[in-house]
Subunit: 385 residues, 2 copies
Amino acid sequence: MSACARRLDDIEPFHVMELLARARELESQGRSIVHMEIGEPDFPTPEPITAAAVRALGEHAMHYTSALGLPALRLAIAGHYRERYGVAVSPERIVVTAGSSAALLLAAGVLIDPGREVLLADPGYPCNRHFVRFVEGRAVGIPVDAGCGYQLTAQAVARHWTPATAAVLLASPSNPTGTLVERAALADIAGCVRERGGTLIVDEIYHGLVYQGDAATALEISDEAFVVNSFSKYFGMTGWRLGWLVVPPDYLRAVEKLQQNLFIAASTPAQYAALAAFAPETRAILEQRRAEFQRRRDYLLPALRALGFGIPVTPQGAFYLYADCSRFTEDSQTFARDLLEQAGVAVTPGLDFGHYQPQRHLRFAYTTGLEQLREGVRRLREHLG
Amino acid sequence: MSACARRLDDIEPFHVMELLARARELESQGRSIVHMEIGEPDFPTPEPITAAAVRALGEHAMHYTSALGLPALRLAIAGHYRERYGVAVSPERIVVTAGSSAALLLAAGVLIDPGREVLLADPGYPCNRHFVRFVEGRAVGIPVDAGCGYQLTAQAVARHWTPATAAVLLASPSNPTGTLVERAALADIAGCVRERGGTLIVDEIYHGLVYQGDAATALEISDEAFVVNSFSKYFGMTGWRLGWLVVPPDYLRAVEKLQQNLFIAASTPAQYAALAAFAPETRAILEQRRAEFQRRRDYLLPALRALGFGIPVTPQGAFYLYADCSRFTEDSQTFARDLLEQAGVAVTPGLDFGHYQPQRHLRFAYTTGLEQLREGVRRLREHLG
C-alpha cells in the first residue's frame, strides 16, 4: 500500500463492516444476532416505486438522462418543497445525483480548494469529512455534546472560523445522534457563514423521518446554501443510489460540468422509479413506516436509558440513538465486540463517527422490528446484569 | 462563480451538449437532424437484462449491496475474463462500480497525489484528464496522430516520463479514434511503466465492440494494472450506470474503503440486471448489434473518405470515426455549427477531446441506423459540394 496516494492515510474504512462481517459469520454458524448496527431501513422499496420502475423498463430504452436529471423528476422534487415546506425552489436548481454521496462529492468538489477548511460536527457521518479530504480540503471536526443537542451553533462556528474556512456542513437530523438543528439556530448559522463569505452545506437526508417538532430545510432560510437530500432513507430506496442536490444559482454551471465529467448522470431506472416517490399511495406507505420508526424509538429510548446507557437528549429524527456507555466501559469498540460475541447483539462503536469521545459511545439503529429490539434489550439486560 | 474551487477553471463542460441542445431546439421547430454526435448506442438495453431487473425487483428488497458488489456479479465478471480472454482473474479483485466513471475516479483517488502526473493520449476521452485534475493531479496529454494509430507507445511514455509521473492511462479501443493498443505495444508500455515504478490504468470500456483484430486486455499481461470496464457500451446498459474496476491485489483494501466512503455501493437493481449480461441469449443479441455496428462502420468510413475527410487509420473498434476536416475548414467548431444549422447534421468538434489539433478534427459517431447515416452523408455531400 506504500504506493497509495496520501489521502488514503486519512480516509478510514467503515469500521462497523468488520463487525457486520463477523455477525454474518456467527449467523452462518447458527447463532442468532439482533442487528442494531445497520444504517439502512429494514423495509423494502415501496411497491408503487418498484412498479414505476417496472413500467419504465417496458417503456423506455434506459439511455442516459441529461446530466442534471429527468426534467419531470426535478419538477417533482420542486413540488415536494412547495407542498412539504411551502418553499418555492426552481427545478433548475435541482440536480439529481447518484445518492447523497454524489451530491456531497459535487458540493465538496465545487467549493473546496486544497487546504481550505470545512467545519462540521464531531460526532457525525464519517464520509462527510472524507469527501472534504478527498478533494484535499481539511475537515475540522467541532466537538459537540448533549449541551448543544449534538449540533453546531453559530457561536461554535464563529469560534472555529479561520481565514482558511470555506464552508460549514450541517446534518439535520444527524447521523449518529438523530438530533435536529432548529430553525432559529439554522438561521443564525446561515447568517454567521454568510457574514464571513463562506458557504453553508446542509445534509437533509433524514428529513421525513422526524417524530417530534418539525425539521426546517435550509431552503426556507437561504438560497445560498447547498442542500443535500436523498431517496434512500425516508423514501426507502437505499440500493437504487439516488439523491439530489439543491444548488445556489451562481454555482449551477459548475455543478453541471462536474456532474457531466464525474458521473455523466444518475441512474435512469432509479430516476423513473423515483417519479412515484411523491405519489399519494407512496406517501401513505412512507407515513406508516415513519409511525413504525417512532414506535421503535419510543420503545428503545427508555429501555436503553433504564439499562444505564446515557442518552441525555431525546433524538427527534433519523433512526439512531447515540448512547453513552461509559457506565459499562471505557472502550466502546471492545465492548461492542463483546456484545456481539457474548450477547448476540450488534451495535456500532463510536469510532465510526469521529474523534470526540468515540470510546464512550455506541450507536443503536432501530432499523429492525420491535420484536427484535425487545429481544436485543433482553440480551443486553442479561449481559450487563 | 468567483467562489468556485480553482479546479473548476480546468474542468471543461461537454461542449457537444450545447450543440445537442441546439439540435433538439431545431427538431422542436420541425427540422430533421441526423445525429452523429451522440456517444451512446441507439439500441435499448437487451431484453434479457431488463427482464432480470424486473424479476429482481419482485424478489429482492433493493437494499445496499456490499461495497465491492454482489458476489454473484463479481463471479460472473471473472467468468467473462476466463471465457472471453482465457485469463484467470480472482473475483476478489473485481469491484463493481457506478459506471466506468466511478471506476476512473476510484483509480485516480487511490493513485494520484496532488501534483503527480498522469500520461494520456491527446485526443482522448475528456473526462479522463478531469478525473486526474479533480484529485489535484496533472494530466499530461501526449499528442498522438495517425502515425502511431492515435495511441501511446512505450517510446512516447519513456520520453514524457518525469519524476512526477505516477501513472499512464490508456484507452483501447479509444474514444474518439476507435483504435486499439495492440498486444505487443501494450506489453511494452506495461514494462516501461513497471520499470519506472508507475502504475498502468487501462480503459477497456469499448471491448466487445471490435470489428477486426482482437482487443487484448491488460490483464493478459499484468496483474499490476488497474483495468476499467463498463456495462454501458457493448452490454447496452448506459443509463443504468454500471461498470467495474479490476484492482491490483495491493490496492484492494484502499479501493474498498474509498468505494464505501464515496459511493457506498453501485446501484442494486443495475447489479441484478447485469447478472443476465453474460447469458447466451444476451450474448446473441449483443453479437447481432456488434455486426450492425460493423456494417455501419464499413459504410460510413469509405463514404466520409470519399467526401474528403481524412481518416488515415481504419479504426478497429468502438463506434467513432475521428476525421480530419482541414480540407474544408481550419475551425472545426464553427464548421460543426454550420453543418448543424445548414445541413441538419450533428457531429462533435475536436475541442471535446483535447488540445492537439482539435480545430482540424470532427468525431462522427455511428450510433444511429444505416438509413440515417446514408441520409447524413447525402446532406454532407450536398453541403460540401
